[in-house]
Symmetry: C2
Subunit: 227 residues, 2 copies
DNA sequence: TAGATTGTTAATCGATTAACAATC
DNA sequence: TAGATTGTTAATCGATTAACAATC
């Protein structure tokens, strides 16, 4: 359970809240298009749009409170507000991106941050050819040596790790010392950090390998069927 | 459980195999550097390097078979082979990337595929300014209208979805019809596909929002402590 | 033999699902 | 009132962890 004020929300539920938020926004766009006055949704409609079961959706929402009307459903707009609020998206999170290789650049150029409650306020790297250049949104890439200074100056609250694996651990430690506790990491290493730091690792190569396992399983099943 | 030939491996275990593989390779590099003749590792060393507990590592390995020596540990090289084999990485998986925006480009330019058992064989998009241009590895971007043709010609076995959300569902359906069953998706939608398709969704914005939840929880705890 | 470390068992814990009473 | 749909309970299922016998 993750305690948040009065609330205790299981991690698996927290991980699904963004899906619900996304589905709700899509649903709202749809409702606006249809302009038929319907402003509500049901747990089964929202669950379908989110890719989960309706029982799971209702159970997840129950950890946040009670927002529906029996026999009617949920008001799309107000449920959106509830979930966005639970996710802490009413404040704008100030983001630094560390490491501007392929992926770092793509992340820096992503345009959907502001709509989702985030703002990129700093870019950091060490390569002489990159430091000092202007990247996305007019930000100038600063040297990672100045990490602490930049975190302080820009009130960075989250930092995306997009460095090569070998330097990720050292950078992560400096981030945590500088007060940055929330770290989305694309570096292919298991970071060892103090308990109060929260790391979410995204491993693209790992995802491909998981799919490769399924492909191999399918191949094995097919050849067994042929034998 | 995911049946693979004789094996039945729980999904949670499958998802960790890439971590073990990564840690084993790092360990092997370390061993080569030290050149002290040690060629083994223990479940606790490997677990630490993978960011899991040693009991969990041993349990996970037990689903694949029995590869260690009691009192000694695991041979790094042969355990690497076992896990790579279980993941189906002895065959090269032929990858198409659909959608060459920010993220698609970054994925196309990623250089680590071959080392991990993958090869990018096709790039697809619809934008007139992008189709026909040369991107990573000398590949020419082809039009997504020709998706079925390209899948067939290049024997594509996996396709990375990096398109905008609204077109992802249609593209995914065409991929599955064309015989592509394994789909890593970066599109922010819940894809509705037949059972035999396997989709792994990577949602960067969602990861940030999960961290935002933790930040909000921390803030709530801090203000409670001050009251 | 003594020490180390695996592979497995059994207990615990957490997540999912089905079912339904409450209630609009 | 009848029909619909929530919020919650209880059952099931799966994943994690600790402990230890087996064995090098």
């Amino acid at each position: 359970m993750i305690e948040s004020g009065e609330l205790a929300v299981p991690p698996a539920t927290v991980a699904r809240l963004p899906h619900y938020l996304r589905a709700l926004r899509a649903l709202r766009a749809l409702r606006d298009l249809q302009a038929d006055g319907v402003r509500t949704t049901s747990s089964s409609e929202l669950a379908d749009a989110s890719g989960v079961g309706s029982a799971q959706l209702r159970k997840d929402l129950s950890y946040l409170g009670s927002f529906g009307t029996r026999g009617v459903g949920y008001d799309v707009a107000s449920l959106t507000t509830v979930i966005a609020g639970a996710l802490g998206l009413e404040v704008t999170h100030r983001l630094a991106i560390v490491g501007l290789g392929n992926l770092g650049h793509a992340l820096a150029n992503y345009s959907g941050y502001s709509k989702r409650g985030f703002q990129v306020v700093a870019l950091l790297d060490v390569a002489p050819g990159i430091v000092g250049t202007q990247a996305a949104g007019g930000l100038v890439v600063e040297h990672a040596d100045d990490l602490e200074k930049v975190v302080e100056r820009e009130s960075v609250s989250m930092a995306v790790l997009a460095t090569p694996g070998p330097v990720a651990q050292a950078i992560a430690e400096r981030l945590v010392s500088a007060g940055v506790r929330d770290i989305p990491s694309f570096a292919p290493v298991a970071l060892q950090l103090p308990e109060d730091a929260v790391v979410r690792s995204v491993d693209v190569a790992g995802e491909l390998q998981i799919l490769a396992f399924h492909a191999a399983a399918r191949a094995a099943a097919a050849s067994a069927a042929n034998a």
